[in-house]
């Protein structure tokens, strides 16, 4: 039900002009006015074709013509009111849903920020313990602390991912584009995973071919895409596996690939893995947001991201980004 208090003096909703950029009633009234020209012209035509005079109303069929005109205008007016009421309801509920989404989003962002404070306190306290500030610790205690630290780091990543996805969806992401070098970003991001790869005995290889692998993009965001893809590859690739990153220029685009030897993703899941909170059943870690964020960032750069899987061989994630977005605008 639409409450009366939500309605203005003319029955229009006050909420509507605040929530939408343009008052939709103006367009609606204009459309109806244009539509009303058609029956008006029909009547003018009837009168003109019958003796070119208004005497038609005084003839034998005068009453019928008058009645039909009255009924037409009444029907027209009733139709106008009904349609206006339907449109009002649609707009009202759309605005209400939008408002509710915004409130929910603000709540999630606020909770995520609030969680960071206690999380930081736990993180610092654990590192105090691990580093022996409160006294010497045994190997078993150190292992327990490291496990807790791992959990805290995962929680931090989840919070950051939630904040990022909300920012992206709310269109609040600040993008600062400049020319950046893809090989340099790849190099930096690979370094971050070298230690984990070494622990899992995973071999990492790079194939950077061709010159001018620069791109007009937000460096931090592109780094985030590569980071998320590498993090995924490291997570799912079993011990003694292989990860290969390649990049090359192709027809005004920069193509990046991250190939791994993880269990092949079923074909039916290849699109779903880019949805929010969609994790593979075999996954024990991760936030389920990394690929969704990567997809959003690639979308912001007018590019494409997709995955291919090869049974018994692994998966390949491909990103295609226009090398200079300005030329495409």
């Amino acid at each position: 039900m639409i409450n009366k208090k939500d309605c203005g003096s003319e029955g229009g909703l006050r909420l509507v002009p605040q929530e939408l950029d343009d008052n939709p009633y103006k367009k609606f009234n204009m459309a109806f006015a244009l539509m009303s020209i058609i029956p008006f012209l029909v009547f003018v035509y009837i009168i003109a074709s019958r003796l070119f005079t208004l005497n038609i109303f005084c003839s034998d069929i005068g009453l019928i013509v008058f009645m039909s005109m009255a009924v037409s205008f009444l029907g027209f007016y009733t139709g106008y009111r009904i349609l206006k009421s339907i449109i009002t309801k649609i707009i009202y509920y759309a605005a209400k849903a939008k408002h509710s989404d915004q409130t929910k989003s603000e709540f999630v962002v606020s909770v995520a920020h609030e969680l960071k404070n206690p999380l930081t306190a736990v993180k610092v306290a654990l590192s105090n313990l691990r580093d022996g500030i409160l006294g010497p610790i045994s190997d078993g205690q150190r292992r327990a602390i490291e496990i807790s630290q791992g959990v805290i780091d995962r929680m931090s990543r989840l919070i950051n991912d939630i904040l990022d996805i909300h920012k992206i969806e709310a269109g609040k992401v600040e993008i600062s584009r400049k020319f950046c070098s893809i090989p340099e970003i790849l190099e930096k991001q690979t370094k971050e995973f070298e230690l984990i790869a070494e622990k899992k005995h995973i071999k990492m290889a790079k194939d950077i071919s061709g010159a001018d692998l620069r791109i007009w993009a937000d460096e931090d965001k592109i780094a985030r895409v590569i980071n998320n893809l590498l993090s995924n590859a490291i997570k799912y690739t079993p011990e003694y596996g292989f990860i290969k990153m390649s990049t090359y220029r192709s027809d005004g685009f920069i193509r990046m690939e991250v190939e791994d030897t993880a269990a092949a993703i079923p074909h039916d899941d290849l699109e779903k893995i880019f949805d929010k909170f969609n994790r593979l059943e075999s996954s024990a870690e991760g936030t389920g947001l990394g690929l969704a964020i990567a997809k959003d960032i690639v979308g912001m750069h007018k590019g494409e991201i997709w995955a291919e899987s090869r049974p018994e061989r692994g998966n390949k994630f491909i990103v295609m980004l226009p090398s200079d977005l300005r030329k495409r605008c």
Binding site: H113, E114, K116, N117, P118, L119, T120, A121, K123, V124, A125, S127, N128, D131, I133, L134, I152, S156, N160, L163, E174, S176
Partner: protein, 122 residues
């Protein structure tokens, strides 16, 4: 040479305790404050060698505290590290505009904080 004095202005008491423990173990003297107004007063009174300042504080926010200290000749040389849970570029820019010397985003690693402190207190 005496211990270097660090003022922490942060409303999350558990975090203040954990950071204090860490800093004291590394040879610093720590003074704590839990709101902006009190923190500003302590900064003026104690003249610390470095201030760790949270952004969202009761009574007076971190930007204002930082701005007021950096505008005063007597205190403008005290390095300020800003703590925040927000990683927006506009927040960082605003922090730099009011004169913050460094920005650390929560949750942070203790070593990152220690390195930053060493870098700023020379």
């Amino acid at each position: 040479m005496g211990k270097k004095k660090i003022l922490i202005i942060e409303d999350e008491r558990d975090l203040v305790d954990a950071v204090t423990l860490r800093l004291e173990a590394n040879g610093y003297e720590v003074i704590a404050s839990y709101d902006g107004e009190d923190g500003l007063g302590k900064a003026r009174k104690e003249k610390p060698d470095l201030i760790i300042l949270d952004l969202m504080l009761p009574k007076m926010d971190g930007y204002k505290v930082c701005g007021l200290l950096k505008l005063n000749e007597k205190y403008k040389k005290i390095p300020i590290i800003m703590f925040t849970a927000r990683a927006q570029e506009s927040d960082i820019k605003l922090g730099q505009e009011v004169g913050a010397d460094a920005y650390i985003i929560k949750p942070f690693d203790s070593q990152v904080l220690l390195d930053k402190i060493k870098e700023l207190i020379k």
